[in-house]
Subunit: 286 residues, 4 copies
């Protein structure tokens, strides 16, 4: 992994128009860009165009710090929303967790293995249970119990996120509902794992709901958080078969494996700038 070349990535979305691909590819070609990955999507119904293009910085004729300014006229011409990312930038990720630590353990293990393109300096929990594991990874841990004054707790959390310059917040089985004000601070940078294949079994106790309904398949869903509970843009889903033999506890146990894998995939895709959001949907260029 260490000898991967440093790359720049453009994420673009705009109204679908002729000449978009030509303009972007011409920009890269004229400046001698060696394209590593390119993918695009047109939503014909909505008339929306989305593109991801990644190229090597080495050999590119535009200096890293001038790429933004050089591309800007093209973006303006087509009315693009766009973002530019460099692969050697390590975004800071904060993990929120409650009692169940399997997603926390899983993400920390991946981070230690160098699997995540980012750093994890901060874990916040509404309990104190997982302080030891966080600190054994050298990570700062804050327990912020949720009392009557939830707004206050969130303010403390927000202050910590600012202090630590956090880019992305991951709710790794954090069982508190965040206020719209909190959510608004991390648009498309706040990822949650819900323990059902949404939109089935939104809300509380999805495995109990699933058991009650007698489904033959359970699932997990990673999504960006929006003010509407469990309604945000879906990033990843996965499912597993179950049968009458499975008690609620078995569903919970099997579900944990889904949750941690689905959440980790979503976080990985997010950190590698593989996701574009439009309307209430994601485009995942994997």
């Amino acid at each position: 992994m260490t000898d991967e070349p440093i790359t720049a990535t453009l994420l673009i979305s705009c109204r679908d128009q002729k000449g978009l691909v030509a303009a972007v590819s011409d920009f890269l070609y004229r400046n001698n860009g060696n394209i590593i990955h390119a993918d695009q999507h047109t939503d014909q119904e909505e008339g929306v165009f989305l593109q991801r293009v990644e190229w090597e910085l080495e050999g590119f004729d535009v200096a890293r710090e001038e790429i933004e300014a050089t591309f800007k006229p093209i973006a303006l011409r087509f009315g693009m929303e766009w973002a530019l990312h460099f692969s050697d930038y390590q975004p800071s990720v904060a993990l929120f967790v409650s009692k169940l630590p399997h997603c926390l353990y899983d993400l920390l293990g991946r981070w230690r293995m160098g699997e995540l393109r980012g750093t994890v300096p901060l874990v916040i929990s509404n309990h104190d249970d997982h302080r030891e594991i966080a600190e054994s990874y050298g990570i700062t841990f804050h327990s912020l119990p949720v009392t009557d004054n939830k707004a206050q707790q969130e303010n403390v959390a927000l202050k910590l996120l600012q202090e630590w310059d956090i880019d992305t917040v991951v709710l790794a089985r954090y069982m508190q509902i965040l206020s719209p004000e909190f959510v608004a601070r991390y648009p498309n940078r706040l990822i949650n794992i819900h323990h059902s294949f949404l939109p089935a079994f939104a809300g509380a106790r999805p495995y109990h709901q699933a058991h009650e309904r007698g489904v033959k398949i359970i699932g997990a869903t990673a999504h960006y958080v929006t003010p509407e509970l469990d309604q945000g843009p879906i990033i990843q889903q996965d499912v597993a078969g179950v049968s009458h033999r499975d008690s609620v506890n078995d569903l919970v146990r099997k579900g944990r494996d889904l949750e941690k894998i689905v959440l980790a995939r979503a976080v990985d895709l997010h950190l590698r700038n593989r996701i574009l959001v439009y309307g209430n949907k994601t485009v995942v260029f994997d």
Copy 2:
């Protein structure tokens, strides 16, 4: 397949009690039964016991026509609900279909290949489109358009089902909602395929709902029909991955493959007496 031995199958459900398995296995052992398949399940929460046991008729000390009477005392002792089936009985299946014929084609093909343990003498549709295909299989086809008087249409259908001595009705993408009166006539013998992974996207146009929501997985669900629309006991479900590249038409196309396979599995399990229903759930002994 032709040389499979003829078997008897007991399907049992009752309140969980000690001695149930011992009593049934003793009954078979004393009468020299050669067990082919046995499976049981205890729902600990509900205190319900369910069992399926299948044994060869050849060599069994109780004559076929006396098995029922011989087992009855055991059933009474434990307060069992039970049913006895013989593998050489070929139940009659009627298929209901509307415009989309993929499930119809699939089931007919399986029937012709000898894959289904049953016969298909009757196809009913609210359109006339699939008369030719049904008749090319030598099957009687009735088109019963749904007019203002739906009750009347259902009555004609019910009369046909009686005339043809139909055991099981399969709604193979039949897009009419049946009345509670109709449904009540085929309890646990009326199978529907719904084109979503229920309980997500119940009701109309599930693929449109799925596309709108931006899910990454679509599904299909075969279930017994109850008066509550799309709420009956689930028999089988399966899913397939989708992405932003898939239009509603793509979901419809991919979904068709799920629908026909899931429905066919459910029908097969039903005809081989592998399903027990209790509460609003199924136990599938596959």
Copy 3:
């Protein structure tokens, strides 16, 4: 489906070079092409670039019959292997089948439903069993038994394929091994379904091999046929879980569902010009 616009599709493969995407997108842009689908892939290790681009004919400034000549200079400049397809062309497909008809039934049903972008005028079998079903679809059926002189049988088959102007041959559970000479006549246009997840269980009786080995998953593989048995480029694979409860017959039964779905997907992708072959691999732009 009927009101889908008529499109042109370019399939391109060549040595990876800078400016490829720019050249193709510029060609389309200058001529006012409305791109419907575009995808590309660079195999970094092999240094191979592959692209698929599809655009609407309506509004394109180059007349349909001149597109080839107009694009040729670009293709020559980059040393491209390329093909141009129009979506209203209906390729002719011949189906080869032996005893087991589930793939035959499935493909014919799809064809009748208008699901396949192509026509099926011809079925060839080494048995006479499926004449009736083929003819009920209005398709010419030839039974060509394989005797001592296999070369002769293949020659008759080849003559039929020529007579009927067949583009693509689908081996829908055809259990004869075709000679290298035959195979060479339909490079990347001869699709087989193998009833295992290749490369596991190549050769004869894969379900028996799978049962013997005690695997927990079975599969099916659709691939282009090459002279090396079961070694050609893989197009599609799918799998299903099995357990100790499954006898060889159960594997065969479950496997049939995999086979027909996997084969149909491969045929559909092929007919919609979604597949590129390079080396012994496929790139599937789905």
Copy 4:
């Protein structure tokens, strides 16, 4: 989990005979056993019968220490191979690992969460890399580099396993081939994870093999180790879809998630006494 009742479990295999189920269920019924789980399987071809039955100790008329002696006559009558397990016994598990720690992390996390029915007192590696993580879990870590004298290294390992009274050895991506002598010491108690869907891609570098072959699905296989490399009885397998977009590194990355989940499931099933081995196959009563 803590308030689950203590249970006894019988694992039985023998030649298929009439009266087996009756004898076992009668034994439990006469002694007032409350059955929690019962499952059986008859391999009709091999004439082998296998059973698992689990019942609550509380209320059972035979004292825990006398169950073995009380059941013995039945076992002798039918020529059973059998084992008796109690759910409050915590078997000792040793983990072997080489460079890649994802399976190690995953199993340790599960252990800490109380998910595994067993303890993990010992980690052995042929490298020193993972000492810190093991020790942070309070586990003894031994690095035993493999030098020219492999037999010696294995002897040290075997001595450690004896000292620590290890029941089960888990090769959590341990990349050394163990000698037949070592393997023979842990029959059906030595679990390996192989990073392919065996029997495809046995041996070294399976992801490279998979990439080379151009498969559309990769997998992982947990199996008991036998002297024949990668040929032992398969416990669990799972797969994931891949495409031309996936480099070898992507396969490795995606495969890690399969490996850790599949291995953990196999270890869990093993520790909960859910697996019976006969011939070269497993019966998994899950």
